[in-house]
Structures are given as structure tokens and as C-alpha cells.
């Protein structure tokens, strides 16, 4: 099992040749794993075989269990016809022909399915009759996912998905052998980061031979532990025991619904017909399947820092390893449902561009960064996914933000006069604007804290309805990319909300102008330039030259204390 992907028609390589380590990402066109069509067309074959078997069921019974066959005569049965007319050879030839044609189609589709990784893009060409050519610019890469479904894992293959910014914008390389997929992932992330090449070259030397050896053993180790190659496998910072995971799911809102349903059914069967009791069975089966799916997809969870970003792995049967480069997280929510409070558990969800269609069922899966964890876990995960957050800001997030209002906390809360609109949570419902993030705290029964990194915020809305106006309050919504985290917070003091809206708008501009995470590996050319806020203070003294300077809203006061968030975790 050597590297199966052979170079296709050699095209002039882009400038990236010398920068990368894997032979697959040298800027030339390459093919995918030869078993790819089987994996993709495998389902089709299974369906065909299923149809054939179903139609020949009676005959198969007759062949293998002669006693059980009834004596019905199949008029016009093709098998009878073939036997009767001595056409066995012809029939075998036809079957053979169909197989050859299928194989030829598979082979053609494999041959025409090529990919190329240059210094600027990832490109995939596919299709025999209808050609598609998809190209994704590397500086817009939102992440790289490595997916290994059960069967592919047994065969030592993996699917690589380069996540783009948009709906259905992913570039999929399916399938590659697992070591190749890992090498390509590393290359893509390194190229996307724009890291200096000398650096990249330094760490590559001598790994080619080791990788060849790894290929051989990959199938075996993959079968046993299903984990990454040892060199590529950083230790997880969070250990998630299966017991906690199961407990967390059992104590979620769906359990309450199940209990309510059971109570309802019991009452209904007592009052009405007892037959209603039987409807519990399908409900239980449904819930069981739901829990099973939820739990298995979160098992084998790990989260770890890598030079290219945070690496999150999850899934028992289909294992997904996603790599999130810095600055790809658009919103973070730390939440604690009511039932988890006694146990001190939290969940962390994020909004990110998953490059999938909105209807894709797996989008929820991709939004859970920490399915359930203790406070220490939350602390560690937040440090990973919000590297821009200064260390001393974490208490603001944790103690004051999640665990609720404390004395002299910096959050601006709902005013007392409007407590009718937030009868329980008005003491907690509040916001805090830092130079890097907008923090929104809400909820008493379900405590939640939303962190919106300003460098990613798309727009900010300030709104007020008639009731709000009567109480002199207003609502704020920070718009981020589509996801499960909502950035809205209602019922804030009007003056405070207006100030927040103005300040946040200016802070967003400032934060995004010092954000370099689209090429996170490049250190900003002159980091010192950031520390000198007004580059030319004298210019202000030249009034006629800058008449528009007056129109510029006050962006200057925003303290530029934190270095840009491009730092690696």
C-alpha cells in the first residue's frame, strides 16, 4: 500500500512547490484514493444487489431450502427462461459486461477527479461528461475537517473537507488514505496561515520516511484506536468521561418532554382508552434512538491546541476531526441549563462558518465545542478558542458573567424600572464591552453568557418597541454568521444601549482593522505600529487639509491594549 495518488497530467506548478512537504500539495494535479468510487458508489451497488435479491427471493429459497418452496410455476420468469433455453453463458456474459461497464465508469470518474493545492487555492475538478471545477481561496479557509466514517476507517481512508465561507462552499477531497489526508490537512493549513516557509521547511525534514512506514501500520492502528498518527496527535486539554456525557443528555430538556409525554399518556389511558398506553413504546424507541445518536456522536471527544488552530475530535462511529484556525469563531455561548446547575456543568457553543447548507443536520454537531464540562474545562476551552482574550479577562467571563451578578461587577444591567419585562433575570441581564469583545449575560433558569468577538461582528442593531419606549429601554443585537448562538439582548437602559451601540460600532472597526487572522501565521509586519495609536498627531493641527476629520466618529479612544489576536493558542 504505497501512496496511491499518482501525479496526473503535469501542469506548470504554481509558486508553492518549494514551500510544502507533502508530495500531494506541490501545486500539481493529483488523483484521489483509487477506492474512492467504490466508497461513493458502494451504496448504489448495495441497492442494486438488494433489488435483485428481493426479486429472486422465492427462487433462492427454492434453491437452498427445497422443502419450503411452494409449487407455483413462474410463467415468464427470466431465470427459468435462461435455464430452459440454455442461455447460461450469454447471461453470464451480460452480467460480466454490466460489471465491466460499471468498473469502467468508476475508473473514469476516478481518473477525472483530480485536485490541486497551490499557494493560493485548493482546486477540485470532477465529472466526466459534466465537468465541475471548484476553487477555494486559501485565505478564506474557515477550517479543515477530517471525517472518517466506519467503513472508510477500516479501509484506512478519510475524507478531507476544506471549509469555505458560504453555504455549500466546502471543497471535499474524498477519499484519501488517512496519512495522506493528514499530510494534506497540515499543508493546507500551513499555506493558508501564510506562515514563513523557512519555518515550515525546518519542521518537515526527515518525516517522509516515517510517513511511509506509518502508511503500513495505519490500517491496523486505525482499526484499533481510530486515532490520528502519533506525531499529529496533541493531547486533549479536556477529558470527557462517557458517564458525564450520558448524564448530561439524560438531564437535558428532552427528558422533561419525555416525562411529560409519559404522564400525559398515562392520564389519557386512565381517562380514555387503555390502548393509549401502547403509544409509549414507539415514543421510548424514538427517544432512545435520539439519545443514542446524540451520545455516540459526542463520544471520543477531545480538544487540543495545534499550531494551526484548535483541533476538535468527536464521534464514535463516524469520527470527525475539525481544525479551527484562529479567528474563525464568530460567537461563543457558555450556557448552563437548570438541571445541570447542581452538577456544575456547562456547555460551550460557537457560531462559525461551517460551509454547509442550512438544512444540513450535522450543523448542530459542529457548533458544540464543549458538549458538557466542568468549570475548569470551560476555562481551558475558552483559553483555546478565544486566544485574544487577555488572561485577566477570564474572571470577567467566568465568575461574573456565567455565575451571575456579584457585587461591583462591570456589567450594565437591566434597570429596575423595567423588571416587569424580565421578572426573574433583570439583575443578571446585562452587557459589557471590552476592546476585543462584547459580552452579553442573560437568563436565570438557563444561565448563558454570549461572547461576540468584535473583529468578527458583522453589524449591530439597536431597536425599540412601544412598550420599551414607555419604560425608557432598548434592545441590542449583534449580528454574526448564522448559527445556534444568538447575539441579542433585550431590555437595557436606553441611554446605555445607545452608548453601547455607538461605542461598539467604533470598536468593531478598530478591532477588525488590527485583525490579521485571515493569514494567521504571518506576524504583522511592524507590530510596533499598533502601539502608536495616532501615527501623526501633528496632522490634526492642519485643519484645512482634513475637513472630514471632524466627521470621523471617535474611534481613537478605543484602547488598543491587546496585541492582535493572531497569536497561536
Amino acid at each position: 500500500m504505497s501512496t496511491p495518488e499518482t501525479p496526473a497530467a503535469p501542469t506548470p506548478a504554481a509558486a508553492a512547490v518549494a514551500e510544502v512537504r507533502s508530495p500531494l500539495s506541490d501545486g500539481e494535479w493529483h488523483r484521489l484514493h483509487p477506492l474512492t468510487p467504490l466508497m461513493k458508489g458502494g451504496l448504489f451497488l448495495v441497492v442494486v444487489i438488494g433489488i435483485v435479491v428481493t426479486n429472486l427471493r422465492d427462487r433462492l429459497i427454492a434453491v437452498f431450502l427445497p422443502g419450503m418452496a411452494d409449487e407455483y410455476e413462474y410463467a415468464g420468469d427470466p431465470v427459468d427462461y435462461i435455464i430452459a433455453n440454455d442461455l447460461l453463458i450469454l447471461a453470464a456474459l451480460v452480467v460480466l459486461g454490466v460489471l465491466v461497464v460499471l468498473l469502467a465508469i468508476f475508473w473514469l470518474s476516478w481518473r477525472f477527479h483530480t485536485f490541486r493545492i497551490t499557494g493560493d487555492d485548493v482546486e477540485v475538478r470532477s465529472g466526466v461528461l459534466f465537468r465541475t471545477h471548484r476553487r477555494a481561496p486559501l485565505d478564506r479557509v474557515q477550517g479543515v475537517n477530517l471525517t472518517r466514517p466506519m467503513i472508510a476507517r477500516i479501509l484506512g481512508m478519510a475524507k478531507l473537507e476544506v471549509v469555505g465561507a458560504g453555504l455549500d462552499a466546502n471543497v471535499k477531497l474524498e477519499y484519501l488514505s488517512t496519512p495522506n489526508a493528514e499530510a494534506v490537512r497540515g499543508d493546507i493549513l500551513r499555506l493558508a496561515s501564510g506562515r514563513q516557509l523557512a519555518e515550515a521547511r525546518r519542521e518537515t525534514t526527515g518525516s517522509a520516511r516515517g510517513r511511509a512506514a506509518a502508511v503500513v501500520s495505519a490500517g491496523i492502528t486505525g482499526l484499533i484506536e481510530g486515532e490520528e498518527g502519533a506525531d499529529d496527535h496533541p493531547a486533549s486539554v479536556v477529558h470527557l468521561p462517557p458517564g458525564r456525557l450520558i448524564g448530561a443528555h439524560l438531564m437535558s430538556g428532552s427528558t422533561i418532554w419525555l416525562l411529560l409525554l409519559v404522564v400525559g399518556v398515562v392520564i389519557g389511558s386512565v381517562i380514555g382508552t387503555p390502548w393509549l398506553l401502547f403509544s409509549i413504546v414507539p415514543a421510548l424507541i424514538g427517544f432512545g434512538a435520539y439519545w443514542f445518536r446524540q451520545i455516540t456522536r459526542s463520544l471520543r471527544y477531545s480538544i487540543a491546541p495545534t499550531p494551526a488552530g484548535v483541533r476538535i475530535t468527536f464521534g464514535l462511529f463516524t469520527t470527525i476531526t475539525e481544525t479551527l484556525p484562529p479567528g474563525r469563531i464568530h460567537a461563543v455561548e457558555i450556557a448552563q441549563p437548570l438541571l445541570w446547575r447542581g452538577l456544575g456543568w456547562f456547555r460551550i457553543r460557537v457560531n462559525r462558518l461551517s460551509g454547509r447548507a442550512a438544512t444540513d443536520s450535522s450543523s448542530q454537531q459542529f457548533s458544540d465545542v464543549l458538549p458538557v464540562g466542568t468549570r475548569a474545562d470551560v476555562d481551558r476551552v475558552l483559553r483555546l478558542i478565544l486566544p485574544g482574550l487577555p488572561g485577566d479577562a477570564l474572571p470577567v467571563v467566568l465568575e461574573r458573567g456565567i455565575l451571575g451578578p456579584v457585587a461591583d461587577d462591570p456589567y450594565t444591567n437591566t434597570p429596575r424600572r423595567a423588571r416587569g419585562l424580565r421578572p426573574l433575570s433583570w439583575r443578571r441581564n446585562g452587557f459589557l464591552l471590552t476592546p476585543d469583545a462584547l459580552l452579553l449575560r442573560s437568563g436565570v433558569l438557563r444561565r448563558a453568557l454570549v461572547v461576540l468577538p468584535l473583529a468578527r461582528l458583522q453589524s449591530i442593531r439597536l431597536s425599540q418597541g412601544p412598550v420599551d419606549r414607555a419604560l425608557d429601554v432598548a434592545n441590542i443585537t449583534g449580528h454574526t454568521v448564522l448559527g445556534q448562538v444568538s447575539g441579542s439582548l433585550g431590555i437595557l437602559d436606553r441611554a446605555a444601549a445607545v452608548t453601547l451601540w455607538t461605542d461598539a460600532a467604533a470598536a468593531v472597526t478598530a478591532a477588525s482593522s488590527r485583525d490579521h487572522s485571515h493569514r494567521w501565521g504571518t506576524t504583522p509586519a511592524e507590530p510596533t505600529a499598533i502601539d502608536v495609536p495616532p501615527a501623526h498627531p501633528a496632522a490634526i493641527d492642519v485643519p484645512p487639509a482634513q475637513p472630514a476629520a471632524i466627521d470621523v466618529p471617535a474611534t481613537e479612544p478605543v484602547a488598543i491594549v491587546a496585541p492582535p489576536a493572531e497569536g497561536s493558542p
Binding site: 431597536s463 425599540q464 454568521v481 451601540w501 468593531v508 496632522a539 482634513q546
Partner: protein, 205 residues
């Protein structure tokens, strides 16, 4: 009209600020203000969201004409359908839904003129601000660098009156800034300006 040099964007900041001369247009642009309303209608309460400083641009007076015509056409269609069904085909039930639709449309028509006067937008140094609504006030600030594309649409009726609708698209679907009833010239001018400014302030997603 230049970006003042005391912006926090460092000069080393890649191509984004190399061309610091493209300006965010400020007030006094003829194309934007030709044939528009001249005062924004606000709620009377003191607790309303303040307009703040800066020049507000408003939408064309023709917008309301187009809206009246299209609503009237819709009303006529509903009434005609109801009459045919109710009188000719003897379907008495049809008066209920038809009545509801007519009442709702008439109510919309009544608030429409005031609503149109409440729509405004402001081109600030770093972002565009859009506001609308009287009973339900809404203000959205969109930084120029966040714009992914700018859409201009106009239907046949809009074309007849020379107005267009401009839509700003960011990576967030919820941003939803759609400025209706701009004059053709204003829409194109605004689009070109926005694209120019967005180009110089391009940021990551």
C-alpha cells in the same frame, strides 16, 4: 474628504489602508438628496432612540406613489376575485378572508406615508447606519469593511418612476439592510461609493 490620519488603522496594515484617500462620503451629496424627504419622522416620546449627529439621507418621495399604486392594484385584484367568487359562484365564505386582506392592506396604506418618512441612512466615517420605523424603531450600523456585496433591484413599476431598492449583504443573514425607494441615480451613486469604500477597508469575515 479623506480619512483622517489619526485612524487607528496602522499604515503597515497590508493593502487595506494603502489607499487612504477614498473617502466615506459625508453630507451635501446632490445625487443622494435630490427629490427626497427632508425630515425624519420620529416617535413623540422623549424616550425614543436619538437620531444623533451627522447627516441623514432619506428616500425619494416617489416611493410612496409606487407603493400606493402597487397596493391599489393588489386591492383591486383581491376585490375582483372576491366579487367573482361571492356573487357569481355564490360562495359566501369568501367575504371573510377578502375582508381581512382588504382591512390589513388599508391599514398598511394608512401608515405607509409616515413610515416612508422614517426611513433614513447615514454615511459615517467607518460605517453605514440605516434606520426605519416609528412605533418599532430600528437602527443598524454596518461597517463598510463587512459588506460582501451590494444589490440594486427594481421592478417594472419602480423603473417607471425611476426608483430602486438597494440591499447590503454581509456574512450575517440577520443584518438585513434594505433601503427602498432610492432614486436611480442615488442608488447607483451609493453603490459605487460603498464598493469603493469597502474595497479600501476590506477585512476578514
Amino acid at each position: 474628504m479623506t480619512i483622517s490620519p489619526d485612524q487607528p488603522t496602522p499604515a503597515s496594515d497590508s493593502p487595506t489602508t494603502t489607499d487612504a484617500t477614498v473617502a466615506a462620503p459625508t453630507g451635501g451629496d446632490e445625487a443622494l438628496d435630490a427629490g427626497t424627504y427632508d425630515a425624519i419622522v420620529e416617535p413623540r416620546s422623549e424616550n425614543r432612540l436619538p437620531l444623533g449627529d451627522g447627516t441623514w439621507h432619506q428616500i425619494s418621495r416617489k416611493y410612496i406613489v409606487v407603493q400606493l399604486i402597487s397596493h391599489a392594484l393588489f386591492l383591486a385584484l383581491v376585490i375582483a376575485a372576491a366579487v367573482v367568487l361571492g356573487l357569481v359562484l355564490d360562495q359566501a365564505w369568501v367575504w371573510i378572508p377578502a375582508g381581512v386582506v382588504v382591512v390589513v392592506t388599508l391599514a398598511t396604506l394608512i401608515v405607509l406615508p409616515r413610515q416612508a418618512r422614517s426611513i433614513g441612512y447615514q454615511l459615517r466615517g467607518d460605517d453605514l447606519v440605516f434606520r426605519r420605523g416609528i412605533l418599532w424603531q430600528r437602527m443598524v450600523a454596518v461597517p463598510y469593511g463587512r459588506m460582501q456585496l451590494v444589490d440594486i433591484t427594481h421592478g417594472p413599476l419602480d423603473r417607471g418612476f425611476g426608483i430602486a431598492q438597494l440591499k447590503l449583504v454581509t456574512a450575517a443573514a440577520a443584518t438585513g439592510v434594505t433601503i427602498p425607494g432610492l432614486t436611480q441615480a442615488a442608488a447607483e451613486r451609493l453603490r459605487d461609493t460603498l464598493i469603493d469604500v469597502a474595497e479600501t477597508r476590506r477585512t476578514g469575515l
